[in-house]
């Protein structure tokens, strides 16, 4: 798999911090990605949860933000000076430990994704909403959430690479 252009961590982080402030200043909205998945659920679901609060109208800014993300990914790839390609690979490290059959890997990722989706709604946000946005607001619950994210990630990856490799 050819490589995307990647800036150094502090540079990438600083620009993302500036983006957070700019989005607030321009639009008055907090940075966040996970809530937008519920907009797609709201198109299909009759559950009351998807009719109230953030989801009172599903066609709102979060939907359009979610649709913008893949566009940004495409631009990032096309400006990296690499040949565009569609790939099932998940990189050298994950490919050695994850199921290699397409069905097995799809089932694994859908199950892992379900944990992400359910957990994000329980936690009230994801890495963007809590770790970047919330911690920049010095919001204590967001610090608790961020610690929880890292505990979960460390446990999962240590287990994955210890037992599956």
């Amino acid at each position: 798999m050819s490589d995307l252009v990647v800036w150094s961590g502090p540079v990438g982080g600083a620009v993302i911090g500036l983006y957070l402030v700019a989005q607030y200043w321009l639009t008055g909205t907090p940075l966040g990605c996970s809530t937008g998945y519920g907009n797609f659920c709201a198109m299909l679901s009759r559950a009351r949860y998807f009719r109230t609060g953030d989801y009172a109208t599903w066609n709102n800014w979060r939907l359009w933000f979610a649709l913008g993300l893949p566009l940004g990914g495409a631009v990032a790839m096309l400006t990296s000076g690499i040949a565009p390609e569609l790939t099932l690979s998940m990189g050298a490290l994950y490919d050695t430990v994850l199921p290699s059959s397409p069905i097995g890997r799809t089932a694994y990722l859908v199950a892992g994704g379900a944990l992400i989706g359910f957990g994000a709604r329980m936690a009230g946000g994801c890495q963007s909403g809590h770790s970047i946005n919330g911690m920049s607001l010095l919001n204590l619950p967001s610090l608790v959430a961020s610690v929880g994210f890292f505990i979960g990630g460390i446990v999962a990856v240590q287990a994955l690479f210890r037992w599956m490799r």
């Binding site: 800036w7 961590g9 502090p10 540079v11 990438g12 982080g13 600083a14 620009v15 911090g17 957070l20 402030v21 607030y24 321009l26 639009t27 008055g28 940075l31 990605c33 998945y37 659920c41 679901s45 559950a47 949860y49 979610a66 913008g68 993300l69 893949p70 940004g72 990914g73 631009v75 790839m77 565009p84 790939t87 099932l88 998940m90 990189g91 490290l93 994950y94 892992g112 379900a114 992400i116 989706g117 359910f118 957990g119 994000a120 709604r121 329980m122 936690a123 009230g124 770790s131 970047i132 946005n133 911690m135 920049s136 919001n139 204590l140 619950p141 959430a145 999962a156 990856v157 690479f161």
Partner: protein
């Protein structure tokens, strides 16, 4: 106003990609403590974000596109937050993706990310159904 979020989402996705947050290997290396690229990204974003948002607050800035006052309010603590955060973290490590980066990966041509996106949507859907059921139960309690 909502259509402005299409280019904003694209810009944020582009930045996530350039920060390395759409490169699978960085997730494995992060949680194996081999390369802390993504800790640097989150850490520096917060270090820049804290004074930036404090300035907006102090200036009582209004949103440029709407003229409305900017509400800088943190999310509340709930009883389910810690468990949900750990669940999300487990999925984060297993799939090498969070809700924002995985949509960006799809745009980069990483097709396996589509399976994760479908999983996240299903998990979100499941939470909504569970939340409704919980509400009904609590309203029926004596």
């Amino acid at each position: 106003m909502k259509y402005a979020f299409l280019p904003l989402g694209a810009l944020f996705g582009f930045l996530l990609s350039r920060a390395g947050a759409t490169t699978y290997d960085y997730y494995a290396k992060l949680f194996l403590f081999e390369d802390l690229q993504l800790v640097w990204v989150i850490g520096t974003a917060v270090v820049v974000g804290i004074p930036g948002l404090a300035l907006l607050k102090r200036a009582r800035a209004r949103a440029l596109l709407t003229g409305e006052p900017i509400e800088l309010r943190g999310k509340p603590m709930t009883r389910e937050l810690p468990l949900g955060a750990v669940m999300l973290g487990v999925g984060w490590g297993l799939c090498a993706a969070c809700p924002g980066t995985v949509l960006t990966m799809v745009g980069e041509g990483k097709l396996s990310a589509l399976a994760t996106v479908i999983g996240i949507a299903l998990g979100t859907y499941g939470y909504g159904v569970w939340h409704d059921a919980k509400r009904v139960r609590s309203s029926q309690a004596p």
